[in-house]
């Protein structure tokens, strides 16, 4: 798995018994910020940056959306600036069939998306910089991939993190968890008030709460 350099953003460290992912289940649906190499294909990003192997990509990923559009050929699509990439396991229903990668029911998608079976061009403006991609992992992909990214530390916009955190607090409370913000302990309810930067680095550790 790739790690993310600690930059100038606020650092959030969560410590939970066994590194329990439970309370963080679904967090990656709010969007992780990933630095992708210029001109990388979607497959390269999934393999080299996220650390997935070919078998997982082939067997366990049912749908990939690039800026909301279904991707059939992940080698041909190059990552552009500010892209959003969503990864999901197989999905039910006509929607799941229509948006499945290389699915035979692609005709059920909107007409405009059929143009997107052709490769995306790398944004020339991105050739010499690392485009920061918003990566969203849904359902089983979240369960399989997010814990590793969180253990290494992953960036999110402060807005996305707080949308996740405040919703989680409202629904179930903080559970058995210890929280540090830039190395200082902070109460769960006060966490988002203490964030001052526009993006945050979130790390989940295993240990006594």
């Amino acid at each position: 798995m790739g790690t993310t350099d600690i930059g100038s953003e606020d650092r959030i460290e969560m410590t939970a018994p066994g590194g329990a992912h439970g309370i963080f289940s679904g967090i990656s649906g709010f969007g992780f910020l990933i630095d992708a190499p210029p001109g990388a294909s979607i497959r390269e990003m999934l393999k080299d940056i996220i650390g997935l192997d070919d078998d997982y990509i082939r067997d366990s990923i049912g749908t990939i959306l690039y800026n909301g559009k279904p991707v059939d050929d992940m080698d041909a699509w190059k990552i552009g600036k500010n892209a959003s990439i969503a990864v999901s396991a197989a999905l039910p229903g006509v929607f799941g069939a229509a948006f499945r990668k290389q699915g035979k029911y692609a005709g059920l998608r909107p007409v405009c998306d059929q143009d997107n079976s052709s490769p995306g061009e790398a944004d020339p403006a991105c050739e010499n910089e690392k485009p920061s991609v918003v990566l969203k992992l849904f359902n089983q992909s979240d369960r399989d991939i997010a814990p590793g990214l969180l253990a290494n530390g992953v960036r999110m916009t402060a807005k996305s993190f707080c949308a996740f955190w405040e919703n989680r607090l409202r629904l179930t409370g903080p559970a058995n968890i210890r929280i540090g913000l830039n190395g200082r302990p902070v109460a769960p309810e006060a966490l988002c008030r203490g964030i001052e930067t526009s993006s945050v680095l979130v790390r989940l550790r295993s240990g006594d709460a």
């Binding site: 309370i23 749908t63 929607f95 799941g96 059920l108 919703n167």
Partner: protein
């Protein structure tokens, strides 16, 4: 299942019942049975709430057996919402019990002489019909609690809430689940209003003493059932995604794809989607001590359902499904799962369709009755329905009536029935099905993506409008066939991908009934059901102008992909040109 129970609620006398041989309807089950009886016996131009309409409740072909996934029950009639034929189906225990008691169908006919409210008890000892004044204007939960006190906790119940008694066009028929809660509903098209018009508040089914139906070839049936279950368990959708997250697994991805109807179908993305997603829902359920994986009836091995607890850890409702989370969530700008669960509970208790109710609240929000995102306002509007106030009666009559009453142009209905949770501009093939389904806008009508396996995929390029039309047609036939088996439609995912699972499903039917059906026969059955339904609708006055989406889907581009619905009317008119 060789008999049909007919209960005549009048006219001019006391309700009477008679049992007759299944006769011409032999070999039919589920939607095949309900649509055949309605098509043959109900005058298409009759008033849906009048004495000539009939309410038919039928288990599937494998109802009452040990076959996996086979316990869904169909409810059919002429719909008060659409004015056409209707089949709505539900999980829960009643269909299994009806099957075990030997009934291929229960038909409520006629009209009571006055406003007496009745309950019916069906058991191995026979049929008892009696007045039930104590149940008047009770919600489904109280109704079932009363029946449980009287008949014990082993019976199952079919009931209506206040909405059914008021004969509102969004009223449902509730089926009790394994925990004897009225949380499963034959929801669409106002079937509960027809039950209300028959004066029947509840049907108690007691299968004490009845045994499982036995197959013609028990060994073959057992082997086929095992292969079928194995197929469901190994498929990633039926073995993993649905059990873990339920149907709400779709929220995040549909939203990301820009196909999530938001703010009454104004845009295709909702900022609050992740907060109400299946992932968030499953974790919340688990943390509160509910159940994130649960079957809606015995014999379900997928178990896409669950049990939702409130913040104090007490049962509130079943796990709200994707369609419900959308209709009361993103469609109304609400991003709080507790509010959505409360709305689901109220809908189930009053007995209203969660899709229709959520779409109606969206229209009411567009009309300015309350603001988008106003959770308390939405709850209060639904409570109006339960109270039966004039406003509540308008809302309970559905989105089309509400749109007319409040002068709203953007009303997402086809044949007066509200669209579900996929914007047809972003999933065009779904739009074709919404437009042309015999049922009104219905996502399940073309749900069974089995077309290729059924050998009816044809050679049309699916990327063309003709291809979308062909796909929609085939999906509608396949769905009608699966609805006739009484199997949950969600088996379709495994059947789509795994030919051996499809074969196992056919083997189950064949070995149980001693038949030699092939895939082609299954397709032919779906086609026959669809034709009966189309013919009924035509005789009821429908024509091709009813097979259309509202105009604004062609004119207003849907963000973020700025798409409109582009399948032409001419193409829509060819969907059923082979019938």
């Amino acid at each position: 299942m060789d008999k049909i129970l007919r209960i005549n609620m009048g006219p001019g006398g006391e309700p009477t019942s008679r049992t007759e041989a299944v006769g011409d309807y032999a070999g039919l089950g589920g939607r095949g049975m309900t649509s055949a009886i309605v098509a043959k016996e109900v005058p298409p131009t009759c008033h849906p709430l009048g004495e000539d309409n009939k309410l038919v409740i039928a288990p599937g072909l494998l109802g009452g057996t040990t076959g996996a996934m086979s316990g869904r029950g169909s409810v059919g009639c002429k719909s008060p919402l659409t004015g056409g034929i209707k089949e709505a189906n539900s999980g829960g225990q009643p269909a299994q019990m009806l099957g075990r008691l030997g009934y291929a169908a229960l038909v409520l006919e006629g009209k009571p002489k006055d406003d007496t409210l009745y309950m019916i008890r069906i058991s191995s000892d026979g049929v008892e019909i009696k007045a039930a004044p104590a149940l008047k204007m009770k919600g489904n939960y109280d109704t079932v609690e009363n029946l449980k006190n009287e008949y014990g906790d082993k019976v199952s119940c079919i009931s209506i809430g206040q909405a059914g008694e008021m004969k509102l066009a969004s009223a449902t028929v509730a089926f009790t689940d394994m925990e004897q809660r009225p949380a499963r509903h034959a929801a669409r098209g106002g079937v509960g209003a027809v039950m209300g018009a028959k004066g029947v508040k509840a049907i108690v089914i007691d299968d004490t003493g009845a045994s499982m139906r036995s197959p013609k070839d028990p060994e073959k049936f057992k082997a086929a059932n095992r292969a079928f279950v194995d197929g469901l368990k190994k498929h990633p959708v039926t073995g993993q995604g649905l059990p873990a997250y339920g149907t709400n697994v779709l929220t995040n991805v549909v939203n990301e794809a820009g196909a999530y109807p938001t703010y009454n179908f104004k845009t295709g993305r909702f900022d609050g989607a992740s907060a109400i997603s299946g992932e968030t829902q499953a974790e919340t359920i688990t943390a509160r001590g509910g159940k994130a994986t649960h079957g809606c009836h015995r014999g379900c091995v997928i178990r896409c359902s669950g049990i939702w607890h409130d913040k104090d850890g007490h049962y509130l409702t079943k796990q709200p499904e994707y369609e419900t989370v959308w209709s009361h969530g993103g469609n109304c700008g609400i991003s709080d799962l507790d509010t959505i669960a409360m709305l689901d509970r109220l809908d189930d208790d009053y007995g209203v369709d969660t899709i229709e109710m959520g779409a109606t609240i969206g229209v009411a929000m567009e009309a300015g009755l309350v603001e988008f995102g106003d959770a308390e306002g939405a709850i209060n509007l639904v409570k109006e329905v339960g109270k039966g106030t004039p406003l509540g009666r308008i809302l309970g009559s559905g989105a089309a009536v509400t749109g007319k009453a409040f002068g709203v142009e953007r009303v997402p209905v086809v044949k007066n029935q509200s669209m579900p949770a996929y914007d047809p501009r972003a999933v065009q093939g779904m739009g074709v099905t919404y437009a042309t389904s015999t049922m009104g806008a219905d996502h399940t009508a073309g749900y069974a993506v089995t077309a290729n396996l059924l050998g009816v995929g044809g050679n049309v390029d699916p990327l063309t409008p003709e291809g979308q039309v062909e796909l929609s047609r085939n999906l509608q036939y396949a769905t009608a066939a699966i609805d006739a088996t009484g199997m949950c439609l969600f088996v379709a995912f495994a059947v789509l991908d795994q030919p051996e699972t499809f074969q196992a499903m056919i083997d189950m039917i064949n070995s149980f009934h001693g038949l030699e059906l092939t895939g082609d026969d299954v397709t032919a059955l779906g086609k026959k059901i669809t034709k009966m339904e189309r013919d009924f609708n035509t005789a009821a006055g429908f024509n091709k102008t009813d097979d259309r989406l509202p105009d604004y889907f062609r004119k207003e581009a849907l963000a973020p992909h700025n798409v409109t619905f582009t399948v032409s009317d001419d193409d829509l008119d060819t969907v059923f040109s082979d019938l």
